[in-house]
Symmetry: C2
DNA sequence: GACGTACTACGATGTCTATCGTACAAGGCG
DNA sequence: CGCCTTGTACGATAGACATCGTAGTACGTC
């Protein structure tokens, strides 16, 4: 059944519209250490990153699960690019909905990492 | 022996020290609608509030549970005052650890409430 | 078409969590 | 002292979730 709608690359992923993003879901998505780490790396690179770029200490199945949670909560946007799936922060949508929130969380995460790493 | 801990009212509650507060735990505590509502009311009053002040749509057992999650994550401080248990935001500790985080979350919650309430 | 890479889907599992109900403890008040 | 108000403790329960393993799909390359 390769005749299905293959616009750009065949598969498309469901994303919540900007207005559908819920604060509680975003906070829940960010409250997992694994996912927070992913978000920090995405923010640091300020560019699309493939799922395989991340070397998380879990299996690929679990990695897929975490990326889905991030996508369905509206934190990241995912698109297929060939066999790879690229991930990017939805900074613009989040900043529009919740100004300063993402920066505060990223700053807090950096502070905590520095505090726990050095002391 | 028994005279040791009974400074004000006899019972004392375990709180995490400021350095023990973890960002992930704070985000998780705030990701529950019930608890986020409690935090919003506490921030609005800027004063101690008893547990019974909150009229949550759950039983008292569940309310106790939510307040414990907030306390153990370091978001609120609880002290006994007679039969009542007073609750206050740990704004100073949170602001010191994660500058701007609490304000961003509160602002985001207010924005979302306004958006969902008016639209 | 065959093969490898990248990621997914599904089922299983153990843990966590939000909820309830009932029984109980601590403190104020008549 | 009895009684009420306030909140706790404990057990139960249903749902969510993080994790895994295996099998499978989509895509690029040879």
């Amino acid at each position: 059944m390769t005749t299905a709608a293959s616009a750009a690359s065949g598969r498309d992923l469901p994303h919540p519209a900007r207005e559908e993003i819920r604060l509680e879901s975003v906070l829940h998505a960010l409250s997992d250490p694994m996912r927070l780490q992913v978000v920090r790396e995405l923010a640091a690179e300020s560019d699309e990153l493939s799922c395989s770029h991340f070397d998380l200490p879990v299996t690929k199945s679990t990695t897929t699960h975490h990326f889905r949670v991030l996508r369905e909560s509206g934190v990241i946007r995912q698109i297929y690019r060939g066999t790879a799936k690229m991930n990017a922060l939805r900074s613009d949508d989040l900043d529009d909905l919740f100004p300063g929130l993402l920066d505060s969380v990223l700053g807090a995460a950096a502070r905590q990492a520095a505090r726990l790493g050095s002391g």
